[in-house]
Amino acid sequence: MKEREFSDSSYEEFLKEEKLMGSRCKRCGALYVPPRALCIKCFNTEMEWKEMKGKGKLIAFTCISVAPPFMIEQGYNRNNPYCSGVIELEEGAKVDARIEGVDAKNPENIKIGMDMKVKFVHSSVGEHEKTYLAFEPV
């Protein structure tokens, strides 16, 4: 596999390939998801790719009723809210993700600490294929 740049675009390419990838500092071992090309702990620039297992826990979430235009295009609105959240991965890093497989109309039933697994959601907006990162309860 050709070494890809440790960049946002590589991160998104990997998501299309259904891989959740981070970068690990070769010197101090710090892990970054999405990847960083510069380690902000020891300022080293020697990084390596590390694939995440895609398992973690929900540590924060929100159910959004007043949606931005691109989510409205996907059918979300005041009567059909969606959930976004923060997942702490088994590997220790945290990621922002869409949260699927939960009832966003009843947020009281969504529990912090729930075990979650990754889900890659492919959608096409106009001519562009996009994959966004989601997690769902195990």
Partner: protein, 421 residues
């Protein structure tokens, strides 16, 4: 070499003005700035000559987006007759004008200028709610926006983490809202000068006139629990947890400390000024704290030699109710996890031991984002000079007040401490 963290010479505020905040169809940013500027000139006790002003620092987040006009420094400089003197725009999202204030302070402290005008403005109401939400989301962290996070969404997520960790719940957020609304009618410039009870009565009246069923809410919390009256925006953030869309402007004149008495016998001194930068949700170690605020507080306390217990009152950035609670903790006013209890116990009320957001806060006073930093300092200035009218803090020895301003989802935070001597 050890950094001193002090100003090379002292700086004082000798005049301040603020436009009314609200949604104004017939007023643009220039009209609003002029309204603030006129009040500022009149507020200088011994008078001042506009020609004394040597430079302008102006905060504006995104009029580029909101009214499709950028480059506001020279527009305002020309408006008030300062051109060709230098005019610099600062951008730090909702903390844009706190950065203007800071640059103005540094410009004087460096010895470059003696008299500097600092201000801020924003004109948001010409866009729809959805468009404003999209415009504000320009200041989120890219990874957040892509998975659907909005501004209220980020603070909603932070609230769920806070609830989980400290055992707070929505009822505690309501305490913040009710407290801010109790202060708002006392502020003649506020966008929503109504208590929650006033709003309940207005809605009952409206229902009666229309011949509809008159809602029966037992009390304020009963009203805030009603999803029809207070619908969710980004759970647990509901409508009454969120600041409104606003237009407005504010400005202040800063001078070197040694000439302050030429302008007034009652200058207000800048004793502490701090700033910090922060990261997105996924990159911060603790979701229940803002590292940018903590850094700003550290700088400001260190410069002033003061500690949190010396601060007698503060404006705290309450773009969302949860933000007020967490920031009070980050600024050291209350220990971590105790902020919501302090609000519940009434400590942050106008007559409490630590009044917070006597102006009504962003929730009720309004939040024209680029004007907010200076508008918060305007409130501190007015309170310290004993000119806050009906909302004057009932403490005859008011000497030290502060303002905390946040930009984005915590990317830029400032904390500024003012003192009356």
């Amino acid at each position: 070499m050890k950094r001193k963290g002090k100003l090379a010479r002292g700086v004082a505020i000798v005049g301040a003005g603020m436009s009314r905040f609200g949604m104004f169809k017939d007023k643009n940013s220039k009209d609003l700035f002029l309204e603030a500027f006129r009040e500022m000139i009149e507020s200088v006790d011994k008078g001042m000559d506009v020609n004394d002003i040597e430079a302008l620092y102006l905060g504006n987040f995104s009029n580029d987006y909101f009214v499709h006009q950028a480059h506001w420094g020279p527009i305002i400089s020309d408006l008030i007759g300062l051109a060709p003197r230098p005019a610099t725009r600062t951008e730090g999202a909702c903390a844009a004008s706190a950065l203007a204030f800071r640059e103005g302070v540094f410009a004087i402290a460096s010895g470059m200028y003696d008299v500097v005008l600092v201000g801020g403005l924003e004109e948001m109401s010409k866009k729809t709610t959805e468009e404003v939400a999209e415009g504000l989301a320009l200041a989120t962290i890219p990874y957040e926006g892509k998975v659907g996070f909005t501004f209220p969404g980020v603070f909603g997520a932070i609230a769920t983490a806070y609830f989980e960790r400290y055992g707070a719940n929505r009822e505690h957020l309501m305490d913040v809202t009710i407290k801010s609304h109790n202060n708002a009618p006392l502020n003649p410039k506020a966008q929503f000068p109504y208590t929650i009870k006033d709003i309940m009565n207005m809605k009952k009246e409206r229902a009666k006139k229309k011949g509809l069923d008159i809602p029966r809410w037992e009390d304020e919390k009963d009203f805030l629990r009603d999803p029809k009256a207070n619908p969710p925006v980004a759970w647990p953030m509901h409508l009454y947890d969120c600041c409104p869309i606003s237009d407005g402007a504010a400005c202040m004149v800063l001078v070197a400390e040694d000439i302050a008495k030429n302008f007034t016998d009652d200058p207000i001194y800048v004793v502490g000024i701090g700033q910090g930068s922060g990261r997105g949700l996924h990159a911060c170690d603790d979701l229940t704290s803002f590292e940018a605020t903590k850094n700003a507080a550290k700088e400001a306390y260190s410069m002033s030699g003061l500690s949190p217990k010396d601060i007698q009152f503060s404006e705290v950035h309450d773009c969302f109710s949860i933000a007020e609670i967490i920031h009070m903790e980050d600024l050291g006013f209350f220990p971590p996890g105790q902020g919501y209890k302090a609000v519940e116990e009434g400590l942050t009320r106008l007559d409490g031991s630590m009044p917070i957001n006597t102006s009504g806060g962003l929730k009720c006073k309004g939040h024209p984002v680029g004007a907010t930093g200076i508008a918060q300092l305007y409130e501190v200035w007015v309170q310290l000079r004993g000119k806050a009218g009906k909302r004057q803090i009932p403490n005859p020895d008011l000497r030290v007040g502060a303002a905390h301003n946040l930009g984005g989802t915590g990317g830029t935070c400032t904390f500024i401490i003012l003192e009356r001597r």
